[in-house]
Structure formats: structure tokens, C-alpha cells
Symmetry: C2
Subunit: 333 residues, 2 copies
């Protein structure tokens, strides 16, 4: 395989986040499942927005956050995602370009507005997401620029892409292409409820041999395998997928490669907002993976990136992650 | 005077903030005066926006931030300011309404977009603002709802209103009305460069006897009086203005009332972003003033509100300031 022009290509729902605080009781009163992502209509989004006691607006989207992490670590990253030609869509594009991410998916010319997610942050830092998919669900197979897939060491797909039908086809096309040219297709399971909605599809992908790297947290492993024996589930998954990364929040992460498991602790930090923790862990891990670091070093990079993003509001890094990696003694060519 | 329906009415430029980090060298390379506010065109705003390494979008505007502080302390607040009927304008209105602020100034029907300020935050937490006034400069005398002025214990005006000609007339009308009905007109000097642009006007207002409460920091006092003898300048100002509040950053604040000066220390905190420090100090102070607390208690409330807002990104409070005031043992009826 020739050298790659991009370390990571992220493909995902291009979403603008509206984040704010709520009291614990607000979640209970409105029957919202803490820590999850639910899909809402534009009207429902407005109603949930009114529950926030403050509001900060920041570019988001799982894969978008992940490639922002790769860029902040000094990596070369690209992104495919669909926005509308409105203020949020323009801001999303600006935010990708300012950090040097190649993002040239054509915006919609007509149709729904740019996707937004109203994110309720409780005092414990946990986030509960209410996503209006808008324009993001109209990502098409024709939006998959194969030249960029070919030029990317890792093509990273978010499980949330299984929600929009149109985007699911784009997802398949991208993963097949990455495999066809000898690149790695990586997948994050995204959310336990998302897996419940699409369990058969997720299972089929795991078995297909097309996924070279998978990220899952404990709730997602439960949802995917419908078992409490996570050790057995992890081993079973690792038979099909060369690199399995199981994230366990404050308990750190486990990486299973070629039947060998390595545990890496989380990096201690004061939690302000957990939004983006998994996304940034994946970004750090893949940056190391693309540059040939051993699994434990990849996971350390993931832990550094995740710790930065949960120490402030919003899912995009505010500090220079390359500086933090350097300070931790991690270097990559 | 009858009881007031509002503790504080804020009148100011309705501005959406686009905040992010820059390296120190970026300010030098682009000849930007650290800590100041400069007015820019839409094109200049875009060019400065591209210098940010990350971007967070939050409702801002000096007087808007101040009344958000009053609301977070449990006070009743109102706001006059001009937005356009676009995404930022709608978000600005939502953000005021979600925290219970009475904000019903009619938006523009046509004309420039909602005002934005691109705020460059350096590693020391200092902010440098680049403001495109847009719709905000079209606040008119007819936008001054006298019923709300009459119903407000304090009508608070930001010095930045001297920049747009149209808004300056609205400013005068509001201050005159507040005085005519026996209410307090309060003024913040806003920025040293703003004072240099409008020194004669500011001086005339100070001498007019119409200002009952003024907020100034040290740089603004220097700019207004063109002297290094701040003690003398403070005493001279206090002869014309019943309550003078001089903020001194980490050195705390001095309140001069009836010839008596009281110094109150700043509340120690880790500085993340100084945006809104002065605005929130004014909000806390005026909440206490409207409820009849002594000057030192008012300044303590100001210090609590300022400390919260500089501990995170953005100029709007994220914590419940009423809880923080209660924890500090400050209560008001």
C-alpha cells in the first residue's frame, strides 16, 4: 500500500450542537434516558431547547468530533457529511476548514436545514442528546469521494449513520471501497439505542470481515450481544475484527488485538461535560494507529484526547492536543 | 417611587459572540490591541474568524451579558437591543427567553444581519474583540419602551452604544426617561478605545447629573480623564455620580458612595476566558443595588458573578449564580 495522504477520513452526520445545563429532575420530568441519543423532529428540538438554562453552540457530530481530534494532534484528516446552505451549515464548514480538515461534500441545494442536536448536560457532566437529523440524513453514495477514501489510512464510520437510510448506503459504499484498496474501515457503535434499532445490520457488518477496527463502550457491547458476559462477547468480537477497543469511561479502555488484551487507564480530570469523550478517544487512538504506534500507546493518545474534551463544554478540543501528547512523551512520525 | 417590576433593564448592542483561542503571536502579527474592542466590517470579521483554532458561538453583548447575570441571580430583568430575523437573531432571542428575560424589541425587517463579535482568547485568558455591529446599530428611539423603563429600578446603558449614531439617541432617550420618573440610570464605560472615540460625549454625560451609577475599569478611567492620578479622578467623578464603581481585575473593586470608598477583593478563580468579567460584575452589583444591599455586599455579588463567568468559555453564566450567592451567605429580599 502506498503512503496515505490522510491519517483518518471521518464519515458521519454533520451536526451543530446546542449544549446547555439542565437539572436532574428535568430529565425525569420529560422522560429522557440519561446518556443516550434520541432522534427528534424540528418541533421536538425546539421544545427540548427551551429546557436549557444556558446555551452554547458548537460544531459537533460524532465523526466530525473525531477528525477534529486527529487534526488537533497534528494529523491529516478529511470529512464527508451533509449540511444545508444556512448559518449552521456555513459555520460547520468554517470550523472544519479553520483546523485544516479537508471537507468538501457539496451542501444541499434545497431541503431541510442543517442538523442540530440539543444536548442536555446534567450536573454530573453526563449528556443526553436530542438530534434533529435535517440535512445530514441526505448524505448519498455519490458524496463518497473515492479518491479521498483511497488516500486515507483509516476510513472511520459512525454507527449513527445507520439511522438515515440514504446515509447507510453511503456508509456501505465507503467501507467496501476502503477494503477494496487495502485500507482500514473503522466503526464506532455510537449508542446502545442506535444498536437496538439496527442490531442485525451491526452484527452483519461485524461478521463481514470488512471492519478492521471497532470502538464500543460497555452499554453498546451489552446492546449488541444481548449478554452480560462481556469478556466472552469481547473475545467473540475479536475473532472477527482485528482490533477491538472497549471504552469503560473512568475505568479506562481495553484493546484486544490478535487475541491479546491490554488495559489502559483513563486520564484523571475534572469532568465538566462528557459530550465527545468517546469521539475524541477514537480520534486519539486512530491517530496512533495510522502512524503505527502499539495498541497501548494508541489508547494513551485516546485517553489524553478524551480527558481534554470532557474538561470543558462542547465536543471539540480547545487545547492543542499535539502539545498535550508531546508533554506525555508520546511521539509519532 | 412605586415598587419596580424589573430590577434591571439593560440596553445595548445585541451581539452573537464567536469565541476561540489564538496564540499570542497571532495578535502581534495582525496588529490587534490585546484586551480591546475594535469595530470591523463583515469581511474583516470573516478574516479574523479564520485565525481562531476552535470556535464556540454564544449570545453576548455587554448589557445582554449583564442582564443574564441579574436573571441567574434570581432577579427580574429586561433587555432592549436590535437583532435581524436570521439564525443568530433567533438564537439570541431564545437565549434571553430561556432565562426569563423580557426581550421584545422588534427585530429588523430588512437590513444587515445580526451583529457578531469574533473574540480571540489568548492563553492568559485575555480576550480581544472584533465587532461587526450589523443590525444592533439600528436600535432606535422608538424601540425604547417607556413602560419598561418606568418599571425598572435601574436602566443600565453600555458605553458601546455611543458607537452607533442611531443607538446613541436611543441611549439618551432612555436615560432621560429613567431620570424623569425617579429611577436610576447606570452606565458602564465599556472600553478605553470606545471612550477615546467619544470622550466629550462621555464627559458631558458624567457632568449632566443624569447618571446615578457608573462602572469603569482602570484603563477606562485613564482614557476618560487623561490622567495617571486615578485617586483624584475617582474623587472628581464621585462628586458628579452618586455611586462610582472602579473595577481592578484581580485586584478587586473600589466603590465610592457619598465620598466614602470601600475596597472589595476579587474572588480567586482559575481564569479560562475573561470575556464578560466586567459585564457580570455590573450585573451582580446592580442586583444587590436594586434590592437595597450596602455597597460592599453589592460588590461581593459582582465579584461572585464575575468569578463564575471567567472560569469558563463565553460571557454568559453557566452555573446558577443564585446558588453561589446563597453559598456565600448573601441574601436579598
Amino acid at each position: 500500500m502506498t503512503d496515505s495522504r490522510f491519517d483518518v477520513l471521518g464519515i458521519g452526520n454533520a451536526i451543530f450542537d446546542i449544549l446547555g445545563h439542565v437539572h436532574e429532575e428535568t430529565l425525569t420530568a420529560h422522560n429522557l434516558a440519561k446518556g443516550s441519543m434520541r432522534l427528534v423532529t424540528a418541533e421536538e428540538a425546539l421544545a427540548v431547547d427551551a429546557l436549557l438554562t444556558d446555551a452554547v453552540r458548537i460544531s459537533g457530530g460524532s465523526a466530525g468530533n473525531t477528525v477534529a481530534g486527529v487534526a488537533s494532534l497534528g494529523g491529516r484528516a478529511a470529512f464527508f457529511g451533509k449540511v444545508a446552505p444556512d448559518a449552521y451549515g456555513e459555520a460547520y464548514r468554517h470550523d472544519m476548514h479553520r483546523i485544516g480538515i479537508d471537507f468538501s461534500t457539496a451542501p444541499l441545494t434545497e431541503g431541510p436545514p442543517t442538523a442540530t442536536s440539543v444536548i442536555l448536560v446534567t450536573p454530573d457532566g453526563e449528556r443526553t442528546m436530542n438530534t434533529f437529523l435535517g440535512a445530514s440524513q441526505l448524505l448519498k453514495v455519490s458524496d463518497i469521494d473515492v479518491d479521498i477514501v483511497d488516500a486515507s489510512a483509516i476510513t472511520f464510520l459512525e454507527g449513527y449513520l445507520f439511522d438515515p437510510d440514504e446515509a447507510k448506503s453511503a456508509f456501505r459504499a465507503a467501507a467496501e471501497r476502503a477494503n477494496a484498496v487495502g485500507r482500514i474501515a473503522a466503526l464506532t457503535l455510537s449508542d446502545a439505542f442506535c444498536i437496538e434499532r439496527h442490531r442485525a445490520d451491526f452484527r452483519q457488518w461485524m461478521e463481514s470481515g470488512q471492519i478492521g477496527l471497532v470502538f464500543a463502550n460497555i452499554a453498546e457491547m451489552h446492546a449488541l450481544f444481548e449478554t452480560d458476559d462481556l469478556d466472552a462477547a469481547g473475545r467473540a468480537l475479536a475473532e472477527r475484527v482485528p482490533t477491538v477497543v472497549i471504552t469503560m469511561g473512568a475505568q479506562g479502555a481495553r484493546v484486544i488485538t490478535n487475541g491479546e488484551a491490554v488495559d489502559v487507564p483513563a486520564q484523571p480530570t475534572k469532568v465538566v461535560d462528557l459530550t465527545g469523550a468517546g469521539d475524541l478517544f477514537a480520534g486519539g487512538f486512530m491517530m496512533g494507529h495510522a502512524r503505527g504506534l502499539p495498541p497501548a500507546e494508541c489508547a494513551r493518545l485516546g485517553a489524553i484526547a478524551a480527558a481534554e474534551v470532557i474538561s470543558h463544554f462542547g465536543a471539540r478540543p480547545q487545547a492543542d492536543l499535539a502539545d498535550l501528547a508531546k508533554a506525555a512523551g508520546i511521539s509519532f512520525a
